[in-house]
């Protein structure tokens, strides 16, 4: 009789142990760290859809884990939540990668604009240097020189925004700078023509 009771107790203990499957803490922490990294990589700005998918998957995984946590130990099974945490981590990594790529793309786009703007400013400065000066266009040349100083200041401001990672702001400012630099080149040509024609 005692032997039978012992066997039942052993069987029950084994069942309880089997039922108490381990919670996927490591996977959960990895997924949370992945999402934090994506956030740091500004995925909410540069890859919002990918970030949202990763965040939703992480929340769903946590809910799945919570559901199992609430169950009687014998019936717990963390297989599904573990799998979801792993997926959430992969999605978070993907969001971070996408954000980095998009940020780099925008950065490159603004870098190209900055290069073009610098070229336009250089052209304007060179044209101003070459412009025939003297009686007839002195005032215009002086004024254009002032404008060029302002354009250069605006350009420096845009570069500072760029260096601070404010790419959209930098882009808008650089576009305005380019427009003005090009109009200065035209003004110089007109001033030179006036001088030539007296």
């Amino acid at each position: 009789m005692l032997k039978r009771v012992s066997l039942v107790l052993v069987a029950l203990t084994l069942l309880v142990i089997a039922g108490c499957s381990k919670a996927p803490e490591v996977e959960m922490q990895a997924a949370q760290a992945g999402l934090d990294a994506a956030k740091t990589a500004e995925a909410q700005d540069y890859a919002p859809d990918a970030y949202r998918t990763a965040s939703d998957t992480l929340n769903a995984a946590m809910a799945a884990k919570q559901e199992q946590d609430s169950k009687f130990a014998l019936f717990r099974s963390y297989g599904k939540s573990k799998e979801m945490f792993v997926r959430a981590k992969a999605l978070a990594d993907n969001a971070a990668t996408q954000a980095a790529q998009e940020k780099e793309r925008v950065k490159q786009e603004v870098t190209n604009l900055i290069t073009q703007a610098q070229a336009a400013i250089d052209s304007a400065a060179a044209a101003l240097k070459k412009a025939p000066k003297g009686k007839g266009n002195k005032a215009e040349i002086e004024l254009i020189n002032n404008d060029l100083v302002d354009v250069q200041a605006s350009f420096t401001e845009a570069q500072n925004d760029f260096n601070a990672g404010k790419y959209k702001v930098a882009q808008a400012k650089v576009e305005a700078v380019m427009q003005k630099a090009n109009s200065i080149i035209n003004e110089i040509a007109m001033a030179a023509a006036k001088k030539a024609g007296k």
């Binding site: 809910a63 946590d69 009686k135 004024l143 605006s154 808008a172």
Partner: protein, 361 residues
């Protein structure tokens, strides 16, 4: 019989257990969860992360808490499940998300309206100043400020188009500041003009009186109106348009300042075609004694550099009619007008140059 009853009992217990465990359990608030998530998504797209971030974060947290509560209830035995708290939390999350979206939309709308209003105001001011500048001799001094304001205005447009309203606003403020400085320059110029108006009026009166008394010709140049008047016997005989020095708004102080002198002069030489670089010319006696005194005082007071020279060779010459002030300080008429003028003017003819002749002619 006994075994049958025991078996039946076990069957009934198992069936009852199944019914209790899986039937009659309340439904989890999945719909509320999905609605809350969709609203949060909408809020994010509306710009809530930037413009109503606190509300957004609050909605986000409520979704998480509600979701966890729902999961906790899911884990319980059916008879013990209660989703009321989860549902309330998710409903609250939906409302918070909705509020966040509305707040963001409203903030953006307000910002757009405010910044656009300020831009329109700056644009109007730019137009007004353009007109004012075109009609003033202080144009060159103010032009740089006007251009700076215009650049700020154009940059603000680009910033607005990318949704950077605060940055756009700071540019508009910069533009307004430039126009304020422009206003200061023009005001200083106007004050200076108001103070000297009676002096110029007296010069004009004296010139007319001399012409009347001697029955001779005299020239009066009104810089403000860009006109050169030929007077005979105190009466206006002819009017000519003229261009001035590229810095027309001030009294001439030294060589190279681009200003046309203001004072009472007379013709010292008549240069016909070939003798002048600018078709035909009338040389005047700048600098006169008053100019020399002013030059010396300005040097002594440090207003101008010690190395400055007073300059000279101020003429009324041809090659004018360009509709802009371009000379180094001379008065330029069109060649045709020079031909007409030269018929009446000779050495000794008085030439009075004023910034504004007030009520004459």
């Amino acid at each position: 019989m006994r075994k049958f009853i025991i078996g039946l009992g076990i069957l009934l217990v198992v069936t009852a257990a199944i019914v209790i465990l899986f039937v009659g359990a309340p439904n989890p608030p999945v719909v509320s969860l999905e609605r809350a998530k969709q609203m949060l998504n909408k809020a994010e797209k509306a710009g809530a992360l930037r413009y109503s971030s606190e509300m957004y974060r609050s909605a986000e947290d409520l979704i998480k808490i509600g979701w966890m509560e729902m999961a906790r209830q899911n884990g319980r035995l059916a008879p013990f499940r209660n989703y009321k708290t989860a549902d309330s939390l998710l409903t609250l999350a939906y409302q918070k998300g909705e509020d966040a979206a509305e707040r963001a939309e409203q903030t953006i709308q307000n910002l757009q309206a405010t910044v656009q209003g300020e831009r329109n105001q700056l644009y109007d001011e730019l137009l007004e100043w353009r007109e004012s500048l075109n009609g003033t001799l202080a144009k060159n001094d103010g032009e740089a400020y006007w251009n700076r304001a215009e650049l700020a205005y154009k940059t603000s447009e680009k910033l607005m188009n990318t949704g950077e309203y605060e940055e756009a606003r700071s540019k508009i403020i910069l533009g307004k500041e430039s126009l304020r400085r422009l206003g200061k320059i023009v005001a200083e110029y106007s004050n200076d003009e108001a103070q000297k108006l009676h002096i110029w009026g007296r010069w004009v009166e004296e010139t007319l009186e001399h012409s009347r008394a001697t029955g001779s010709y005299a020239l009066i140049v009104d810089k403000g109106k860009h006109k050169t008047y030929l007077v005979l016997g105190g009466r206006l005989k002819m009017t000519f348009n003229c261009d001035l020095g590229y810095n027309p708004s001030t009294q001439k102080l030294f060589a190279g300042d681009g200003a046309t002198p203001e004072g009472k002069y007379y013709v010292t030489a008549v240069k016909n075609n070939g003798a002048s670089k600018y078709y035909r010319a009338l040389l005047i006696n700048y600098p006169n004694a008053t100019d020399r005194q002013r030059f010396a005082e300005s040097k002594a007071r440090g207003i101008i550099s010690k190395r400055s020279r007073i300059g000279g060779l101020i003429e009324i010459h041809g090659e004018g009619g360009r509709d802009r002030d371009w000379t180094e300080g001379c008065v330029a008429l069109s060649n045709r007008d020079m031909d007409r003028l030269m018929q009446f003017v000779s050495i000794g003819t008085p030439v009075t140059i004023v910034r504004r002749a007030n009520n004459w002619p």
